[in-house]
Symmetry: C2
Subunit: 246 residues, 2 copies
DNA sequence: CGTTTAGTTGACCGTGCTCAAGGGGCGTGG
DNA sequence: CCACGCCCCTTGAGCACGGTCAACTAAACG
């Protein structure tokens, strides 16, 4: 499925993602689905959805494509602090703070939906399962954030990259976007380097190490994991921090 | 003030911290203060308040002393992913998830208050300013989390340590716990190393570099900043991400 | 008074960075 | 249609930042 097409079924990914934390009541799911469909938008790759310093005033949910939360230093150094994958809410409640403390940019072209603040608050106020699902989704995102800090602070390059690949694969699996042991992996090595705190050169060499060990095949924007157990072991990966109910 | 004494005024630090995000209504502040006073507890240094894998089921707020959120790898590597300072809420809403994804341990003896989940939910449901303040406090904690990821991923050792010292100083200032250009700094170099993703040896040398440059004096659990502007500049520190309303 | 914990220093080494160059794919314009 | 430029990936060489190992000191503590 092309990331820029919208075929009318993609709103399902949001319900599926939230449903991984709390089963949504029928009415809540219907109301959320309706709200999402009212304002579907697109954005090309390499664009900022919102930038550090902006005033956040609405909610956005990703229907397809990948984004990155990132922070940049003045001299150009950049750190991606998390990915935002399909089904995820970009910025729940962030309008409570005056300014964005980080940017959210597209890594690929995306399709997303915008929901105004008031509308969003009505939605979560109207149904407890929905409110809790949104909360959990956000708490899980914070948990991933912490795991990334551990990843960058205490894992060596090979572990670090392996861990990230395992995480992305699991996150995509939870929304039904893996096919056997393969998934789309539409980002550049420079993005991966900025996500792992490595230089592009060293990231490249680390990927080749993983390839040479038969753990992954990564080409043409597709990741295939040769031996998931081995990759998880190489990355010291355990999925508990993703907080999926299953 | 000894971190283990409770003199009856320390509940103020919580109101002060929350008030930095939203002015609390009088009744909300009074109700919160009352709830905090009902169950005051103590814990020695080097203890876990809650451990990874535990089921969270209540709220705790820190009245005095420092804690760390941390994650550990099986082989002993440890990463502190954030500090929890006086006035902060350890785990708002984390009981919505089944298991803790990280541990929270004391770096010093602490005084804290426990509030049961139901009681806490009543409190925040009863007053919008309180609910928003709690939300903001949590959002700000997430923001610090992101800054730490940037810090560890993209700043070199000297910048990294300088940044952390600036941040802690600002956080303590916001709760009135700095004295001029000095503040208590009650943690070991090993804790600092685990917070910055450095080895103890290299952290020690980095501190000495900062000392030699006249930027800091750090001894006997007290940090004195010689030249705050210079330290902030060395750490590429800007306080916007702390989200203080002032 | 012995033991433990925290801080410090030296020496050596390795992981990962920098700089530099080249190749391949792809879109664009001449 | 081909040329060119751009982006992304890859590779080599050299080096530096920061890690590891080890030993020693000083303070805290029982």
């Amino acid at each position: 499925m092309s990331p820029t097409r919208f075929d009318g079924t993609q709103t399902q990914v949001v319900l599926r993602r939230l449903g991984a934390f709390r089963p949504l009541s029928g009415p809540a799911a219907a109301a959320l689905d309706k709200a999402i469909r009212e304002r579907i938008l697109r954005l090309g790759g390499g664009q900022d959805l919102i930038s550090e310093g902006d005033r956040p005033d609405r909610i956005r949910v990703v229907l397809s494509g990948w984004l990155a939360r990132y922070k940049a230093l003045e001299d150009g150094r950049r750190q991606i602090v998390n990915f935002v994958l399909p089904g995820e809410i970009c910025d729940p409640y962030s309008y409570l703070l005056a300014r964005m403390d980080h940017s959210i940019g597209t890594l690929t072209p995306i399709v997303y939906s915008e929901i105004e603040r008031d509308r969003f608050e009505e939605l979560v106020a109207s149904d407890r399962t929905l409110a809790e699902a949104v909360w959990c989704e956000w708490l899980a995102s914070n948990s991933i954030q912490r795991e990334w800090t551990l990843n960058i602070g205490r894992r060596v390059a090979l572990e670090r990259v392996a861990h990230l690949l395992c995480e992305v694969f699991e996150r995509l699996r939870s929304i039904g976007q893996v096919d056997g042991n393969s998934c789309t992996f539409p980002i550049t090595q420079m993005d991966l380097a900025d996500a792992t705190g490595l230089s592009v050169v060293h990231l490249n060499r680390t990927l080749q190490e993983l390839r040479a060990a038969g753990l992954i095949v990564l080409r043409e924007r597709t990741l295939t994991i040769g031996d998931l157990d081995a990759l998880e072991s190489a990355g010291l990966f355990t999925p508990a921090y993703l907080h999926y109910a299953g």
